[in-house]
Every structure is written in structure tokens, then in C-alpha cells.
């Protein structure tokens, strides 16, 4: 029997002290099995990004336990954490977080470089990833020469390029038009079909509809967690 990819127990996150204390997460329990496709929705400030950062091993909870592939993340050393972030997880930030003054293709290559992939192979895979998000012709542009949507797609390409088993996406389509949104979601569908695990945050119901499972977060707690039949990609354009 294999452990679930994500196993979160009684997760709490409290920011600040005294007057300024914010309970961003108030005891979240969540298990995500391998190959699942989860959409998290909720109003602004409900703690979605906070949860996602903890799931991506970028932040630590105030209390509670987080098992990634059955391993307690809080016990991992820096090297192992780096390895997990690099090999296991693809993370798409709400704020893109591209490295400034560095070309799109160099940004996409970065996780491969830390994985020890040779430069030639790296370049090839980075170009392929950019192709997937429709930005092959912008490969040599630096982030400040790209529109918000284009930057977001570069961030998507960077998360996909290592072909991670777990894709964590914080509003990956927040800045995209319907057409680009559809392109990115199609890629997610393909990854999901290939057995990879996806957790994404979104405000758009039509994005949430594509997932197999929908979670609603209100004020730091999960209020609904339901399975659903994912809407097929082809249905939407005609509507």
C-alpha cells in the first residue's frame, strides 16, 4: 500500500502576535491520493495561499502535521527539502516569481539546472515547455518585457518542465484570457490523465469544474470537500 501524496492533519497557521494575530488556517485535515486533481476555492483571505505554501514545503505550519509521500516534512533537512521541491513538486506562484533580468528560457531552465540536467538537454526541455504554453517566440525576453499573462505562462512552463509528480498551482490562470486559460488547463488535463497529482487554487468556477474534486475554504477551514465529474475540455468553447 502506498502512502497518499499529501496527508495533512490538524494544520494551523497563525500569523503575527497580540492584536495583529491572524488565524490563517484553523485546523485543516486533507488527504490527497496519487493521481487526484483537486481544486481549492474560497474567498480572498480565506487561507488558500497559506495552505498551498505549506503543501509546497515553502512554509511551516504553526501546529499540525504534514506528510509528503508519507514523510513528515518537518523532519527533513535542507538538502532533502531542496530535493523534494526540485524533483517532486512543481510550484506555480500567485505572483509568478520569475527571476528578474533573466530570460524566460533561463527561468524555465532553472529547476533543471538544480536537478543536474546537462545544458543542451536543459535548453531543449525548456523550449519544449515554453512551446506547450505558447511562448516559444518569447524565449529570449526578460520578465519585464512580458505581459502579466505571459509571465504567468512562463511560471507554468517552469513548474511543468521537471515533469513533477505533484503540481501545486496558486491561481495559475488568474491573469489569462479564456484561450490561454484553456491551453493551460488542457496541459493540466493531460498531466492528470498521465497519473500526476494536481492541486490548484482558483477563483473561476469553470476552472474548478475541470477538477475531479472541489474543496471550499472559508476563513481557514474546509467547509465542503466533494468529488465531481470533471467537465471535458471540449465542452467549453462552444458555450
Amino acid at each position: 500500500m502506498t502512502a497518499p501524496v499529501l496527508d495533512v492533519r490538524e494544520l494551523k497557521k497563525i500569523y503575527g502576535t497580540g492584536e495583529a494575530t491572524v488565524h490563517a488556517l484553523r485546523g485543516v485535515n486533507l488527504v490527497v491520493e496519487r493521481g487526484d486533481y483537486v481544486a481549492i476555492m474560497g474567498s480572498s483571505g480565506s487561507g488558500k495561499s497559506t495552505l498551498m505554501n505549506i503543501l509546497g514545503a515553502l512554509d511551516v505550519p504553526t501546529s499540525g502535521q504534514y506528510l509528503l509521500d508519507g514523510v513528515d516534512v518537518s523532519r527533513l533537512a535542507d538538502r532533502q527539502l531542496a530535493l523534494a521541491r526540485n524533483r517532486l513538486i512543481g510550484f506555480i506562484f500567485q505572483a509568478f516569481n520569475l527571476i528578474p533580468r533573466t530570460t524566460a528560457v533561463a527561468n524555465v531552465e532553472l529547476p533543471l539546472a538544480y536537478a543536474g540536467v546537462k545544458p543542451r538537454e536543459r535548453r531543449r526541455r525548456a523550449m519544449a515547455a515554453l512551446e506547450v504554453v505558447g511562448l516559444a517566440d518569447r524565449a529570449k525576453h526578460e520578465p519585464n518585457q512580458l505581459s502579466g499573462g505571459q509571465q504567468q505562462r512562463v511560471a507554468v512552463a517552469r513548474a511543468l518542465v521537471t515533469e513533477p509528480a505533484l503540481l501545486l498551482a496558486d491561481e495559475p490562470t488568474g491573469n489569462l484570457d479564456t484561450r490561454s486559460t484553456d491551453d493551460v488547463l488542457t496541459v493540466f488535463d493531460q498531466l492528470s490523465a498521465a497519473g500526476r497529482t494536481i492541486v490548484l487554487i482558483t477563483h473561476e468556477p469553470e476552472v474548478g469544474d475541470r477538477a475531479k474534486r472541489l474543496i471550499r475554504l472559508v476563513d481557514g477551514s474546509i467547509v465542503t470537500d466533494q468529488r465531481q465529474a470533471p467537465v471535458l475540455a471540449t465542452g467549453r468553447h462552444q458555450a
Partner: protein, 402 residues
């Protein structure tokens, strides 16, 4: 991830911020170059001073009459000079040159030139006083013995009296007598306000006959066999002089002796000390500029890394281990400091080939090492420290860093 890859990352990091990299290097360059040059100027002027003193001759002492009373019993005479060349009582004396001198007017074909010191001495004087003859030859012991009227001119005199003419074998009139020019002294650097090239040297016998008369000597130049023996020579000479001039060990001696001994090595010691103080002073100035330069480097490094804390957060989120990030930033800091430092050394070397405020700078090798070492250490420390701090942050904290 291989080290080579990390180096490439560092290079890309530097070239992604060309202006900032250039400014950082400029700061280090100026700091290093300023320190090296300042110390070189101090050292150069110290060296110039000691060179000039050495030109006076460091292994000689000069016996002067202290000029009290002028009675014959206390005057310096050629006999006293001869007595100093005593291999038994004064074994460390290499040569003794009695010196008479007076001002004189030299005339050649209607051109007059006043010489402040027309020196009459023996041939040994040229070597002892470190005054080599440039063209022609010095007069000989035979010239001295025969009282031949020959003269060796200083550069200034030669130029004044014989513009564009070879002065050798010409005859100049001094004090109504004709002297044949047999040589011209080499150009000598001047020690003070007096032009040491404005001189003429002739056999003592001739000068006494024509100019000064047969009174006392002005001074006696005593050369030691070795610069280290100067002090021994001084005491040997004192002993002989005390005997000769009948300085009583009891009464009059308490006030002063009738002669004075000037010791060039003492002068040199004082001057070297002064020059040393000067170098120390400049070293202090250099240390301060190094400090200021260091603070500049610190500042730029801190700002750079702080500005790049977000970038460090991104890199960590993408799976960069702490060590790789630290290595990259250390290589960047090293490249900047080493390149900036090397350029600073180059700039200092180029700068030192020019005269600065009349001084030819002489580079002190240890100052190069010190300036380079300190700037590189500062660059590494203040480049590395904030980077390691940032690399230790959780990715999300680094990303939120403002």
C-alpha cells in the same frame, strides 16, 4: 549540480546586473589603488630623502673647527690632518682629506662666475665625499704636491662659463692666477637650498697659495673603511684631536672642545626616522581610506544581497540547496572583489609610473598584499554573510522580504 555550473550561474548573475557589478568593482578598485599609491608616495619620498643623504657619503665624518678664539693651538692644520691618518691610533680610517674653501670669482674670456665654495683639497676627497668626476679627470697627488694650478669644475660652473664649449684644458682666472680645467664633476642632486653643482675643486696647495693663504683648514673629511665603522672612526679621531689640540681632560673640556664632528650616518638615521614617521602617517591615511573603501564595498554587497533575497527565495523554492546558493553568491563576491582588486593594483602600478606632487612613488609590496587582502576579505565576508543569512530563510520568508 557541478561547480562549473555554479560558476556559470555566478557569471550570469553578474552580467545580469552590469551597472551594479561595475560600480562594485569600481569601489574596490579605487580603495585598493588609493591605498597602494598613498603608501608608495610616502615610501617614494622617504627614499628620495635617504638617497640624497647617502649621496653625501654615509661612511665619512667631517671635523670642523668650532672657531673659538682662532688661536693657532686650536686651529685645524694640515699637520693635524696628517696625524689623523695614523694606522695605529686610527685603524678604521680609510682616508683623510683636508679641506680649505673660500668663495671666489672665476673668469673665462670676460665671463664672470661667482662660486660660493672653491674647494682646495687632496685627490682622496673625490671618493670620500662621493663626488665623482664626470668628464676629464681629477687632479693627482703629484698635482697637489707640486701645487699645480689645475681645477675640476662643478656642472653649474661649467655651464655658466663654457656654454656649448668643452671646458677641458681651457684656462680660467681665479684670484689673479690661471687655473687649467682638467675635469668636470658629475651632476649631483642638491640637498638643500644650495646648489651643490656650483663648486670648483683644486689642489689644496694651489688654493692656499692663491686664495686662502696658509691659515687653518676649514674642515677635515675623514673616510671610514666601512659605513659600520663610522662611530669607531669618530672616537679614534676624537682621541687624536684631543691629544693634538691639548684639550685638558679636566678644566676647559667641560664647556666644549675646539672642534666639532659631523657624522653623516647620524644625519641619515634621523632622516630615516623622519621618513619612517612620514610613511607611518601615510599608512594611517591609507588605512582610513581602506576602511572607507571597505565600508563602501560592505554597503554595496549588503544592498545587492538584500535586493536579491527574493531571488534567493525563488531559487530555494525551485529546489536549490543552501550550499549551491551560498556558493553562487560567494563566487560572485569573489569575482567582484578579486577583479576589482586586480584592476586596482593595475591602476596603482600605472599611477606609480608618474610623478605625484614631485615624488616618484615607490610601491611597497606588502601594501599591495594588504590592500588586496583586506578588500577581498571584506568583499567575501559582506557578500557571503547576508547571502548565507538569506539562504537559511524559509523560501516563503525570503520571497516576502522587502
Amino acid at each position: 549540480m557541478s561547480f562549473y555550473e555554479v560558476v556559470r550561474f555566478a557569471l550570469r548573475g553578474l552580467s545580469a546586473n552590469k551597472l551594479r557589478s561595475a560600480l562594485t568593482m569600481l569601489g574596490i578598485l579605487i580603495g585598493v589603488a588609493a591605498v597602494i599609491l598613498l603608501v608608495a608616495v610616502g615610501n617614494g619620498s622617504a627614499k628620495a630623502i635617504s638617497d640624497r643623504i647617502e649621496a653625501l657619503g654615509t661612511n665619512t665624518i667631517t671635523v670642523l673647527s668650532s672657531g673659538r678664539g682662532g688661536s693657532t693651538s686650536t686651529a685645524l692644520t694640515p699637520e693635524i690632518a696628517d696625524a689623523l691618518a695614523d694606522p695605529v691610533l686610527a685603524p678604521d680610517v680609510a682616508s683623510v682629506s683636508p679641506v680649505v674653501s673660500s668663495s671666489a670669482t672665476l673668469t673665462y674670456e670676460g665671463t664672470d662666475h661667482d662660486v660660493s665654495s672653491f674647494v682646495g683639497t687632496t685627490p682622496g676627497w673625490f671618493a670620500a665625499s662621493n663626488t665623482p668626476v664626470g668628464t676629464g679627470a681629477a687632479f693627482t697627488a703629484d698635482d697637489e704636491a707640486q701645487g699645480r694650478r689645475v681645477v675640476v669644475l662643478g656642472q653649474t660652473v661649467a655651464e655658466e662659463l663654457f656654454p656649448g664649449v668643452d671646458p677641458l684644458d681651457k684656462q680660467v682666472t681665479v684670484g689673479g692666477a690661471l687655473f687649467t680645467v682638467v675635469g668636470v664633476l658629475q651632476q649631483k642632486s642638491s640637498t638643500g637650498f644650495q646648489d651643490s653643482n656650483d663648486t670648483a675643486v683644486a689642489p689644496m696647495s694651489a688654493v692656499r697659495q692663491v686664495l686662502t693663504g696658509y691659515g687653518s683648514l676649514n674642515s677635515i673629511l675623514v673616510e671610514a673603511t666601512d659605513p659600520g665603522k663610522v662611530d669607531a672612526v669618530q672616537s679614534e679621531v676624537s682621541t687624536i684631536l684631543d691629544q693634538r689640540l691639548e684639550v685638558s681632560a679636566t678644566g676647559a673640556a667641560s664647556t666644549s672642545t675646539p672642534y666639532r664632528i659631523q657624522n653623516a650616518s647620524q644625519l641619515l638615521a634621523t632622516q630615516t626616522e623622519t621618513a619612517g614617521t612620514f610613511t607611518t602617517l601615510l599608512g594611517a591615511v591609507a588605512a582610513i581610506s581602506l576602511l572607507v573603501g571597505g565600508i563602501g564595498i560592505t554597503n554595496i554587497m549588503l544592498v545587492t544581497v538584500t535586493e536579491r533575497t527574493r531571488e534567493i527565495g525563488i531559487r530555494k523554492a525551485l529546489g536549490a540547496p543552501r550550499r549551491v546558493i551560498l556558493t553562487q553568491f560567494l563566487i560572485e563576491a569573489t569575482l567582484l572583489s578579486v577583479l576589482g582588486g586586480a584592476l586596482g593594483v593595475a591602476a596603482a602600478l600605472i599611477g606609480s609610473s608618474f610623478e605625484i606632487v614631485g615624488v616618484k612613488p615607490v610601491i611597497v609590496p606588502s601594501s599591495v598584499g594588504l590592500a588586496l587582502g583586506v578588500s577581498i576579505a571584506i568583499g567575501l565576508f559582506f557578500g557571503g554573510l547576508p547571502a548565507s543569512r538569506a539562504a537559511r530563510l524559509r523560501p516563503i520568508d525570503a520571497l516576502r522580504y522587502e
